[in-house]
């Protein structure tokens, strides 16, 4: 089996551009997903069933259907409602954000509910409102606790962003597939893409580990 380094070199600029877009998609997905997820997670733990049910449904839908389908719906259905010509990158960011928001919401919910209820009681007994207690006591502790699962979600999102290539967002997998189509080669494009994903996820987990250690109080 020969391995053609020359076509990798030829495609290097595209793969680099693709990697940058993969990063861009993932970072936007993570940021928007985390903010949305926090509110959805808080919404789900509201005791009033009528208020919490939309959040429950949201999570059920986005966790219960394939990301692939969500990307197609957003790209061909939702985005054209707002802008005339649909756009793979915009659709990708939206779909990834909405999808990760559902998972992040569950992570936040479990993190908040894992904090001993004595913490809320102590805060309230000191005269804090529910919102103050959440902000100063519960969420900071929950946040520290959810870094590992949140890290998992970020890594999953980074890899899942490859699905966006089906709507022609020119990220890493898009260029790898293009390379495969042009030269009919399998190992060069897909191994290269795999290696790049691997480097990205390893760097990400290294950064998350450091964050976790920095936030430890003991």
């Amino acid at each position: 089996m020969d391995f053609r380094l020359d076509i990798i070199v030829e495609y290097a600029p595209f793969l680099l551009k693709g990697t940058l877009l993969t990063l861009g998609l993932s970072i936007s997905g993570v940021l928007i997903g985390t903010i949305l997820g926090l509110f959805i997670g808080l919404g789900k733990i509201i005791r009033n069933r009528i208020i919490s049910s939309p959040f429950v449904c949201y999570i059920a839908f986005f966790r219960g259907t394939p990301l692939f389908v969500q990307v197609l719906i957003v790209h061909f259905g939702v985005v054209p409602l707002f802008i005339h010509e649909t756009n793979g990158i915009v659709a990708g960011i939206i779909a990834l954000s909405l999808n990760s928001a559902a998972y992040v919401a569950e992570i936040f919910r479990s993190g908040i509910q894992s904090i001993d209820k004595g913490q809320m009681e102590a805060s309230r007994s000191l005269g804090m409102t529910h919102v103050q207690a959440m902000k100063y006591v519960i969420l900071p502790q929950a946040f520290k606790r959810i870094i590992p699962p949140l890290g998992n979600e970020f890594i999953a999102l980074l890899k899942d962003s490859s699905i966006v290539s089906v709507v022609a967002a020119p990220e890493l997998m898009y260029w790898a597939t293009a390379m495969n189509t042009q030269y009919g080669r399998v190992w060069e494009p897909y191994l290269t893409a795999s290696l790049i994903y691997l480097v990205l996820t390893l760097v990400l987990s290294f950064l998350l580990n450091r964050l976790e250690r920095r936030l430890a109080t003991e």
């Binding site: 102590a122 007994s125 005269g127």
Partner: protein, 240 residues
């Protein structure tokens, strides 16, 4: 100062408080004793509405705290509470634990809150621990910090919910010492405890609860040496 009228509390079908009537005067130390499951902790938690009240009225300095229009957060700033499990905030240092509520709720300036916090730490004998995290402290130290944290809000009443029950025996004394000091300074206190020595020495009045009722209440010298009710006698014979 505190007036509890016909207080009832149910958890679903289970009625844990059945018609409680108590009055606590200013500067009085009331000790609540009784077997586990008698409702004493629930009673205490109703007083700052950590538990919702099923029926009855509770007045604190004339304010009806069972009234829906009463600002319960305001009431709680006047009523300090100390828990069996300390409930210190593990993500904050000792001094930050103490300063948090004065700054966020009372809007006290930071320097002032710190100064007051250090003063309270001196009072409980832990000023050298100001900048450590609670996890590095012993149980007795944690509870003394929790008392200082409650005092930082300058409450008029202090509630203690079995403050020494989670402590190793050798640490019980240091916490009781702080509480005795507080009583001596004239703090109004309601203490749920199994420390009969403390009840006898510091309590102005002892309430014996069983099965959701106040079975008997009297000054400690009477209730410990000459209990009237059969249930009180049998309980005291087991714990004394």
């Amino acid at each position: 100062m505190i007036k509890v009228e016909q207080l009832k509390k149910s958890f679903g079908e289970n009625e844990v408080l059945k018609n409680i009537n108590v009055e606590v005067k200013s500067r009085e130390v009331v000790v609540v004793i009784g077997p586990s499951g008698s409702g004493k902790s629930t009673f205490l938690r109703c007083i700052n509405r950590l538990e919702s009240i099923t029926e009855g009225r509770i007045y604190i300095e004339g304010v009806d705290i069972t009234d829906k229009t009463t600002d319960i957060n305001q009431v709680r700033t006047e009523v300090g509470m100390v828990f069996q499990q300390f409930n210190l905030f593990p993500h904050k240092t000792v001094i930050e634990n103490i300063m948090l509520s004065p700054i966020k709720v009372r809007k006290v300036a930071k320097d002032q809150a710190r100064e007051k916090g250090m003063e309270l730490l001196r009072k409980v004998g832990l000023e050298d621990k100001a900048n450590v995290y609670p996890d590095s402290l012993s149980g007795g130290q944690k509870q003394r910090i929790a008392i200082a944290r409650a005092l930082a809000m300058e409450p008029k009443i202090m509630l203690f919910d079995e403050p020494t029950s989670a402590l190793d025996p050798e640490m019980v004394g240091e916490v009781l010492e702080v509480m005795k000091q507080l009583a001596k300074e004239g703090m109004t206190m309601i203490v749920v405890t199994h420390e009969m020595g403390f009840a006898r020495e510091v309590g102005d009045r002892v309430i014996f609860m069983d099965g959701g009722y106040i079975v008997e209440e009297n000054v400690p010298s009477e209730i410990f040496t000459n209990p009237k009710e059969e249930r009180t006698k049998s309980f005291l014979s087991k714990v004394l």
